[in-house]
C-alpha cells in the first residue's frame, strides 16, 4: 500500500488495481469437502422437506426453511445436507446456515468443470437447473423467474428493488469497475465474460423494463462493449472515482446524499458478475455456482481464484498456502471499505469479491489521541467535508447536529479520512457508527409511531368497554 512519500506536494493518490499490469489467470479450486450456504431467514423447527439433514440435494436446488417462504438459498453442489443450524447474520439478523457434503461424483466433475456431465446424478442436477429457462426461453425470462431461480448467483443481484411499486427504479448501473483498491474481481469478469454480460444486460432490461443501463468500466476498457445496450462509463484510475456516489454524480449529474438508499432516487446497482451470471444461466441453462474472488495475501500479492460458492474461506487460503493465525486480520472486501471477518469457517458467499489477509505485525493501530486539527482529512475528502469539525461533533455524540450542520450525509464512505489521519483517529469509524445509529433511531421512531397508533387503538377500545 501507498505510504507517505518523502516530499508531499499534494494529497495522496491511491489508484485502482489495473489487471493489465499483470498476468492474472484465476486459479480454479476443486469443489471442497463441504459447502455452506445461508438462507437469510430464522431457523424455526427443522428446515423444509428436501433441506433437512440427510436429504439429498442437486446442484441448483432451492433450499428453504419453510415451504411457504419465498426466501431460499441455492445449492452450489449435488450432495447430502449435513447440518442445518441457526447463524447470526449481519446486524443482528437471524439466518440459517446449511452445510452440504458434495457427492464424490460432484467433486470429480468440478475438478474438470469443462467436462460434460456423464454421471447420472450430475445429469439430473442439470435438468433441475434447466427447468427455469426451458419454460420461458424464447421470450427471455420475466422478472418473476429471475427472482425465483437466480437470486443467489455470484455477484448477489438484488431483484427486490425492481419489485417495489413505491420506489420505481429507472436506472440500472452495472459495476464493471471494482470499488475498492487491490480488488480485480469485477475487472476480470468485465474482461473475460463479454458475451455473458451482453446477454445478461439484454435479459435484465427485458425482465425489468428498465431503459437506462450504465456499465462502469475501469478507464477506457470499453472496446469489447460497443452497442451492449448500456451506456459505457469509463471510471478513472484514482480512488474513489468508482464510488457509486461519484459515478452517479459524474454520469447522471446528480450529487446524492447518503442518508437514503439509491433506490429512493430511482437508481440501483448490480455487480457485473451478477449480470454475467444471469446471462450465462439463461444461455447455458445452468445456474452458475462458481465465483471469482481476489485474494490478497499478507505481502499484498493478489491472486484471482475461481471457487464454488460456499467453499470455506479456510479452504481458499489452504489452496494458496496462506496461513492466518492469532491476531492477524481477515477482511471481506478491500483495504478501504471492507469488513473484518472473525472466522475462517465462513464460506465464500455470492457477494464476497475479495478476501484480504493482514499479518498482525502489519495492522495499523488506532489511537485514542484527539484530533489536532491538521486538516489532512479535509484536504483528502472527495466530498469536501470539514472532517475535523465533523469528527469533533461525532466524538461528543451529537449525531443529529452532525447530520444537519456538518455534512455527515455528504460522506461517500471512501475511508480516506481515516487513511490519512495524523493522529490515527478512527475518524471513518465514527462516521459509520453515526450513520448506523441514526438509521437505527429512525427505524425506532417509525416503530414507535406505529406502536403509538396501536396504543391509541387499545385506549379507544378500553374507553368503549367502559
Amino acid at each position: 500500500m501507498i505510504k507517505r512519500p518523502f516530499f508531499v506536494f499534494k494529497k495522496p493518490t491511491l489508484v485502482y488495481e489495473d489487471m493489465n499490469q499483470g498476468n492474472y489467470i484465476p486459479v480454479v479450486l476443486p469443489a471442497p469437502d463441504n459447502v455452506t450456504v445461508y438462507v437469510k431467514e430464522k431457523l424455526v423447527g427443522i428446515a423444509s422437506e428436501g433441506t433437512k439433514p440427510g436429504d439429498t440435494v442437486m446442484e441448483g436446488d432451492k433450499l428453504t426453511i419453510s415451504q411457504e417462504s419465498s426466501i431460499y438459498a441455492t445449492s452450489p453442489v449435488s450432495g447430502e445436507v449435513k447440518t442445518v443450524s441457526a447463524f447470526p447474520g449481519d446486524f443482528g439478523d437471524d439466518w440459517t446456515a446449511i452445510t452440504i457434503t458434495p457427492t464424490a461424483a460432484e467433486a470429480e466433475e468440478d475438478v474438470a468443470p469443462e467436462a460434460p456431465a456423464k454421471k447420472e446424478e450430475a445429469a439430473e442436477a442439470e435438468e433441475a437447473a434447466e427447468e427455469a429457462p426451458e419454460e420461458e426461453a424464447p421470450q427471455g425470462p420475466d422478472l418473476a423467474h429471475l427472482v425465483e431461480f437466480l437470486a443467489n448467483v455470484p455477484g448477489a443481484p438484488d431483484f427486490s428493488v425492481f419489485q417495489n411499486p413505491e420506489k420505481p427504479v429507472d436506472t440500472l448501473i452495472i459495476t464493471g469497475a471494482d470499488e475498492d483498491l487491490l480488488c480485480m474481481t469485477r475487472q476480470y469478469v468485465a474482461n473475460s465474460e463479454v458475451d455473458n454480460v451482453r446477454a445478461g444486460i439484454k435479459i435484465l432490461k427485458q425482465a425489468t423494463g428498465i431503459e437506462k443501463a450504465i456499465l462502469t468500466l475501469l478507464r477506457d476498457a470499453g472496446q469489447n462493449y460497443e452497442s451492449v445496450g448500456a451506456e459505457l462509463a469509463g471510471v478513472g484510475m484514482e480512488y474513489p472515482t468508482a464510488s457509486p456516489y461519484l459515478v452517479v454524480n459524474d454520469y447522471l449529474g446528480r450529487a446524492l446524499l447518503s442518508d437514503k438508499p439509491f433506490e429512493d432516487s430511482g437508481i440501483t446497482f448490480m455487480s457485473i458478475e451478477a449480470v454475467a451470471a444471469i446471462g450465462k444461466a439463461i444461455t447455458e441453462g445452468k445456474i452458475p455456482t462458481r465465483k471469482i474472488v481476489t485474494v490478497i495475501d499478507k505481502n499484498g500479492k493478489k491472486t484471482l481464484v475461481d471457487v464454488v460458492l460456499g467453499t470455506p474461506i479456510s479452504d481458499v487460503f489452504a489452496a494458496l498456502r496462506i496461513t492466518a493465525g492469532e491476531r492477524d486480520r481477515i477482511i471481506n472486501g478491500g483495504p478501504m471499505t471492507g469488513t473484518a471477518l472473525f472466522s475462517l469457517d465462513m464460506p465464500v458467499t455470492s457477494s464476497i469479491d475479495a478476501l484480504m489477509v493482514q499479518d498482525s505485525s502489519n495492522i495499523p493501530v488506532v489511537s485514542d489521541y484527539p484530533c489536532i486539527d491538521c486538516g489532512d482529512c479535509c484536504r483528502v475528502c472527495p466530498s469536501k467535508i470539514q472532517v475535523n469539525m465533523l469528527a469533533r461533533v461525532l466524538e461528543s455524540g451529537d449525531f443529529e447536529l452532525a447530520a444537519d450542520e456538518y455534512d455527515l450525509y455528504s460522506c461517500i464512505d471512501c475511508g480516506l479520512c481515516g487513511f490519512v489521519c495524523t493522529t490515527q483517529m478512527p475518524v471513518f469509524q465514527y462516521i459509520k457508527l453515526a450513520k448506523y445509529e441514526l438509521a437505527r433511531l429512525e427505524a425506532e421512531a417509525a416503530d414507535a409511531d406505529s406502536a403509538d397508533e396501536d396504543a391509541e387503538a387499545v385506549a379507544e377500545e378500553n374507553e368503549a368497554k367502559k
Partner: protein
C-alpha cells in the same frame, strides 16, 4: 465454530498512510535545529541553559498535568518538547531562570493542557506564553537591555527599535545578508533568518506545515511594509527588513502554522496568513510594541474559528 485463531476484528480502513503525530513533531524540531544551533553558537552557554530549561520544564509540566488530570501520558509525542523549544527560541539568552520556568508553565498549562491537551488549544502555546510575559514583564524581553553583555561585530541595537526610532535610516545599519546570516540582536532562535527559511522550506516540502499559511503570512508582512514604505519612505523601513527581522520568520513557519489554532481550508488559511502579516506590520509601524508578530498571530488565532465558517460546499448539499 471450530478452533479458529482469534482474529483482529475492527473497522475499515485497514491501512494507514503512515503519518503520525510523533513524526510531525520530531520533524518540526529537526527543522528548527539550524536556527537553534546558530543561536547557540552566538549566544553561548546562557542560551543553552535557557533552551534546556525550557524544554525540560515543558515536558515536566505536561507530565504533571497529565497526572493531575488523570489522562494518559502524552509527553512521548514530542509536542511538549517542541513547545518548550519554540518558547526558548523567542527569548533573549539572558532571561532569568524563573521566567523560563514560568513561561513554559504558561505555555503548557494555560496554552495547552487546560484546553484538553493537543488539538484543543485556541492559541499557539509558545506565543501565548510570550504574549503574557510581554505584557507582565516587558523589560525582560527588551533585547536592547537584555543583551548588553554581548559584543559582536554588528550593531547590538534590536533592529525593530532602530527602525522605530530612526525609520529607514535606522534599518540601513543591517545589510540583507547580515540579517540572513543572523547578524542581528534578538531571540535565541529567531535571528538566523537563513536557518529559519531552510527549516520552513523543509517543513513545507515534507507536508508538515501548510505553505498557504507560511507564505501568505510573509506576503502579508511584505506587502503591508511595502505600502507603508511607499507612503513614507523616510519613516518606514522596507519589506525585506520587516521580513528578516524580529519574529517574522519563526512566526510564519513555526508559530502561525500551529495546527489547532489555524484554519484548514484554502481561503481561510490565506486570509489568516495575510491578516497576521498585515497586523504585524501595523503594530510595528504605528502600534505600541516593537514587534507585532506575537499579538498579530494571537489575534488571528482568535479569529480562526470564524474563518472556519467559510467552508466549501460539501458533496450533495444545496445551499
Amino acid at each position: 465454530m471450530s478452533n479458529n485463531p482469534k482474529f483482529i476484528v475492527s473497522h475499515a480502513p485497514f491501512v494507514h498512510y503512515g503519518s503520525s503525530l510523533q513524526n510531525k513533531t520530531y520533524h518540526t524540531i529537526f527543522a528548527a535545529l539550524p536556527a537553534v544551533i546558530v543561536g547557540l553558537l552566538m549566544w553561548g552557554v546562557p542560551a543553552m541553559a535557557v533552551i534546556a530549561l525550557s524544554v525540560g520544564c515543558s515536558i515536566i509540566w505536561e507530565y504533571i498535568m497529565n497526572l493531575i488530570l488523570k489522562r494518559p501520558q502524552t509527553v512521548d509525542d514530542g509536542n511538549a518538547a517542541l513547545v518548550g523549544l519554540l518558547f526558548a527560541m523567542l527569548l533573549p539568552a539572558t532571561v532569568p531562570w524563573w521566567l523560563v520556568v514560568l513561561g513554559s508553565a504558561i505555555a503548557i498549562i494555560i496554552g495547552k493542557m487546560i484546553f484538553g491537551g493537543i488539538g484543543g488549544n485556541p492559541f499557539s502555546p509558545p506565543l501565548l506564553a510570550i504574549a503574557i510575559i510581554m505584557v507582565s514583564w516587558p523589560h525582560y524581553l527588551d533585547f536592547n537591555v537584555a543583551l548588553t553583555g554581548y559584543d559582536f561585530d554588528f550593531s547590538m541595537v534590536y533592529p525593530l527599535t532602530a527602525a522605530r526610532s530612526l525609520g529607514s535610516t535606522g534599518a540601513e545599519a543591517w545589510s540583507t545578508l547580515d540579517l540572513l546570516l543572523g547578524k542581528q540582536s534578538g531571540g535565541i532562535g529567531s535571528t538566523f533568518s537563513l536557518g529559519l527559511i531552510l527549516g520552513g522550506v523543509y517543513l513545507i516540502l515534507r507536508g508538515f506545515i501548510r505553505w498557504e499559511i507560511a507564505l501568505s503570512f510573509i506576503g502579508g508582512v511584505a506587502i503591508t511594509a511595502l505600502m507603508f514604505n511607499m507612503a513614507d519612505p523616510v519613516r518606514f523601513a522596507g519589506p525585506v527588513f520587516h521580513v528578516l527581522t524580529g519574529y517574522t520568520l519563526i512566526g510564519a513557519f513555526f508559530l502561525a502554522t500551529d495546527d489547532a489554532s489555524s484554519p484548514v481550508s484554502f481561503l481561510p488559511m490565506i486570509l489568516y496568513g495575510i491578516g497576521g502579516g498585515f497586523l504585524t506590520v501595523l503594530i510595528r509601524n504605528i502600534g505600541t510594541y516593537y514587534d507585532g508578530v506575537v499579538f498579530a498571530i494571537i489575534l488571528m488565532n482568535t479569529a480562526s474559528p470564524l474563518f472556519g465558517k467559510i467552508k466549501p460546499k460539501a458533496f450533495g448539499r444545496v445551499e
